[in-house]
Amino acid sequence: MISQLLSILVLGAMISAVYALIAIGFTMIFGVGGVLNLAHGALIMIGAFAYLGLTSSAGALSLPPVVGFVLAVAITAGASYVLYAGLVTYIEDNIVITFLATVVVALLLTELIIIQFGAEPSQLIPVVPGSIYLEAVGTRIRYVELVAFIVSWIAIGLLWYYVTKTDEGRSILATSMSTRGAELTGVDLGTVKSRTWLIAGAFAGIAGVFIGTLQSTTPEMWLNPLALAFIIVVIGGIGSIKGSVVAAYLIGYLETASIEILGPSFQGVLSLIVLAAVLLVLPHGLYGRELVHE
C-alpha cells in the first residue's frame, strides 16, 4: 500500500510537469489574445513527429537524440509562430472563425502526418535511454521520465523568471490582464502575441517529445493533450500560469492514481468528474480571475 502511494507520488510528479507545460502554453495564448487554440494539441504532435523524423534510425538524418530534441522544440516553436503570424492574426477578432480555423489546422496536420509517417503508432527513441529501479519506492522509472520532469521544471522556472522579472515578460502578463492597459503603457500587442505563441510552441514541442515517448506517437495523439489542456486550464483558472501548474499536478496525480488503483481504462474518468465539480463549485477555477481578458 505504502509502496503504491510512493509510486503514485513519483510517477505522478513526472507526468504532471509535462501536463503543466501543455496547459501553460494554452492558457497564455488565451490570456493575451482571447484565442482558444484548438491546434495546441497538434503542435504537441508536431513536436513528437519532428523528433521522430530527426532521430529515427530509419530516417535519413538519425541525429543524436539530444540534438533532435532541441531541433524538434525549435521546429514546434516556429510552427506555432507561423500559425499565429500566417493565420490567426488575420482572424483573431472573430472568436468563432478562429476556433474553426484552428480545428481545421489540427485536422490538416493529422492528414499530413499520416501521409508522411503512416497511421500506425511510431516508437520514439528516448532522449536518454535506460531506467532505474527505485528500491525505496518499489517502482522502476525510466530516465526519460526523470529528464521530462527536470526539463519541464527548468522551462517553467525560466518562464516564471521571464514574466515576473523582465519588462518584456511582464508585458505578456499585463496584456492578459488588460489589453487597453497594455496599449496605454506603450506595449506593442503584435510583438507580445508573437512572443507568446513562440513560447507556447516551444513548450508544446518539449511536451510533444516526452508525451510521444512516454505515451504514444500517433496521428491522433493531439486529442488527449488538447482535452487535458482544456481540463487543466478550466480547473486552474483561465489565464493563470500558477493555476495551470497546480491543476496540472492535480490532474496528473488523479490520472496516475486511477491507473495504479483502478486500471488504465480509468485514466481520464476522475479528471472529468473533478472538472464537472469545479465548474459547479468554482466556475472561475482555483486561481480564476473574473477579469482575465476583457
Binding site: D167, E168, R170, S171, L173, A174, M177, S178, R180, G181, A182, E183, L184, T185, G186, V187, D188, L189, R289, L291
Partner: protein, 236 residues
C-alpha cells in the same frame, strides 16, 4: 507651434456623429480643460487623439500628424493617456503597475528617479507598493493610474475624469499632484465633468456639448460666463 493641435476632427460610430468637427490647440506647459456633460464627446476626443478610434480631420503632436502613428508609438513619443476606466493591471502590485508604465524605457537611472518621484508625489502608493491594484480604493487607483502614466516620462498627459467618484479629501490630493506636475512643466489636457475642478486648474478651456465646441476661452472668461456658471459650475 502648438504642442497638440486638433483640426476639424470628426468621429462617427455607425450613424452616430459623436464628434462634429472639433478644433483646438494646446500649448506647451499649460493645462487645457475640456468640460461638458456626460456623453458630450470628451472621452471620444481623447480616444481619437490616443489612436483608439478612427477619425476624420487631423491631429498633430509636436508637428507630427498622428494619423499614421500607432497608439503604442504615441505613448512612446510622450503623449500619455489616463483613461476614465484607469485600465490598471488588476492583479499586478502597485510597484509592478508602475514598472509597466516604464516598460519601453531603456534609461534605468531615469526610471529609478521617476519611481522615487511618483512615490513621493503619492505617499499612499509608497505605503502600498506590494498591494494588488484591484484591491485598492478608487482614489488610490486613480493615483496609481496617474503614477503609471508618469512612469512613461510624458511631455503631455491626457486625464479623463480624474476626480469621478472620489471623495473631496482625495480630490485635494489629486489637485495638489496636478499643481506640482504643472510647476514642473508638464502639459495636461484635462477632460472633466467636474467643472469646478477643471476651472481651478486649467488656464484655457473648451465647453463641449453634443460633439461640438460651444465655448472656448480662458478660465476667467469661463468664470464670468453666465451660461457656464448656471449650467456647469453651480453655486460655490
Amino acid at each position: 507651434m502648438a504642442h497638440l493641435e486638433l483640426q476639424d476632427v470628426h468621429v462617427r460610430y455607425g450613424k452616430a456623429h459623436a464628434l462634429k468637427g472639433i478644433s483646438l490647440s494646446v500649448e506647451k506647459g499649460e493645462i487645457y480643460g475640456v468640460i461638458g456633460p456626460n456623453g458630450a464627446g470628451k472621452t471620444t476626443m481623447l480616444n481619437a487623439i490616443a489612436g483608439f478610434v478612427d477619425y476624420d480631420g487631423t491631429v498633430t503632436y509636436d508637428g507630427t500628424d498622428l494619423a499614421a502613428v500607432s497608439s503604442q508609438q504615441i505613448v512612446r513619443d510622450g503623449l500619455v493617456y489616463c483613461t476614465e476606466d484607469r485600465d490598471l493591471f488588476p492583479f499586478f502590485s502597485v510597484h509592478e503597475n508602475l514598472l509597466m508604465g516604464a516598460q519601453f524605457r531603456d534609461d534605468r537611472d531615469g526610471v529609478a528617479d521617476d519611481l522615487e518621484m511618483v512615490y513621493e508625489l503619492f505617499p499612499r502608493l509608497d505605503e502600498r507598493r506590494e498591494q494588488e491594484a484591484e484591491t485598492m480604493s478608487g482614489g488610490e487607483q486613480q493615483m496609481l493610474a496617474i503614477g503609471r502614466a508618469l512612469m512613461s516620462d510624458p511631455d503631455m498627459l491626457m486625464l479623463d475624469e480624474p476626480t469621478i467618484g472620489l471623495a473631496p479629501v482625495i480630490i485635494q490630493d489629486i489637485s495638489a499632484a496636478i499643481e506640482r506636475l504643472q510647476n514642473e512643466g508638464l502639459t495636461i489636457l484635462l477632460a472633466e465633468q467636474n467643472s469646478t475642478f477643471a476651472l481651478r486648474h486649467a488656464e484655457r478651456l473648451s465647453l463641449i456639448e453634443t460633439g461640438e465646441i460651444e465655448l472656448e476661452g480662458t478660465s476667467d472668461e469661463f468664470h464670468d460666463n453666465e451660461y457656464v456658471r448656471e449650467a456647469y459650475v453651480g453655486v460655490h
